[in-house]
């Protein structure tokens, strides 16, 4: 389990979710981006244009830099999704694929 390393203003219920196969500790009400940041995880995806790593930037839904795959859905904004017990999150690798 990757613990949350952030000092919290208030403690609420602790939950856990999965990032790249690792169990990550979070607090109820965290966004996925906040929980990953608190756990020290900042490399969330590769840019499909340059291949360079990307992570959180605006934390308010505008920049689309914190894209991750959540429960099999690609290109979700980690800062706009609330973390839930058992959520399966993966790095966003490249572009989404649509079935014709």
């Amino acid at each position: 389990m990757v613990p949350s390393r952030a000092r919290r203003i208030e403690e609420v219920r602790t939950i856990s979710f999965e990032f790249e196969g690792l169990a990550v500790q979070a607090q109820e009400g965290d966004s996925v981006a906040a929980a990953l940041t608190a756990a020290g995880i900042v490399d969330l995806r590769d840019s499909p244009v340059s291949g360079a790593p990307r992570g959180i930037y605006c934390m308010m839904g505008a920049c689309f830099d914190c894209l991750v795959e959540i429960d099999g859905q690609p290109n979700r904004q980690a800062c706009m999704c609330e973390v839930r017990e058992g959520l399966v999150v993966r790095r966003q690798q490249g572009r989404a694929e649509l079935e014709l």
Binding site: P48, V49, P74, N75, G94, E97, E99, L100
Partner: protein, 379 residues
Amino acid sequence: MSDTDDGADTLVVGGGLVGAALAWGLARLGERVTVIDEGDVALRASRGNFGLVWVQSKGDGMSEYARWTRQSADLWTDFADELEAASGVSPEYQKPGGLHFLLSEAALEAKRAQINRMHNVNGALGYGVELLDRKALDGIFPGLGPDVIAGSYSPHDGHASPLKLLRALHAGLAARGGRYVSDAKAQAVERDGSGFVVRTAKGSFRGGKVVLAAGHGNKWLGPSLGLNVPLIPEKGQILVTERIRPLLPMPTHVLRQTTEGTVMIGDSHEDTGYSTDSETPVLTRIARDAVRSFPALAGARIVRSWGAVRILSPDGCPIYQESESHPGAFSVNCHSGVTLAGAHALSLAPMLARGKLDSELDVFSSRRFADGSVTRAAH
């Protein structure tokens, strides 16, 4: 150039795609060019552009516009290469041909009639647009919805990134020593000795010639130079998806996939003045039509939407003219700033450098609106 400077050979008013293409085209011929620009607060159709380099259907009713458009598309490959070499920025031009979806027998018949009307617009070069039945479409564009019964295909169509194009033109201008002045909305343009002066909050700028390329601003700036520039605002709204692996083999009149992978979904034509608001009812209609033409898009996440204001003349065709009362003052307007960038930089700019529009452009003067009878040509 401030009041104490020598002045430019040519002042270009407006730093959008039209002004920037002309300015780079003039600078590459050795002219000293100054671009006076309102800045990013401008209405700036260039930043909302869909990005098609589109030939089919343009100039139905005005064959000179059809030929000018085709000429620009023919120039685009060399234009893009030279611009990238000059600026270090690729405008990401691709020319795989383009498709217009036809979703009803009526639309198919109207398209067939248009192709018949336009078959001779380019003389021996040919119009080059062909109707494809559904079977032929499936061969070149897999994944179309059942309602697409046919399509018109043109090998001359393509697409580019409007934002990269604008960036490349500005970088190319700077590399040629051209001057760009931002946050300098033109307040007045006047005769000044043998040349012209443009007055702005950032000071006055002088040049031997002046080219108004300020989009809708030309309507207000033109009269002081004896230029009548009748223009109509028309809003278009666009939806943009998440980045997707290559899905669309070529651009269409309502969908195109960018180099980076986003799919742009467009095509609204709205009379809402100068508003750039994006509005749910229109976006809903655009999304529904897109899914009807290409059902796989239903699974795509939308990440952006915006509205932008087209610059349309009364007949939808460009306006190119030199003032009769103020020789050396020109106005340039069109709504296809991407498609026509090749012709603007490589054909029109040399005319402006010579100080005279070629007679082939006479037909584009706003004098064509003088008698009040206007037929809207396909644009």
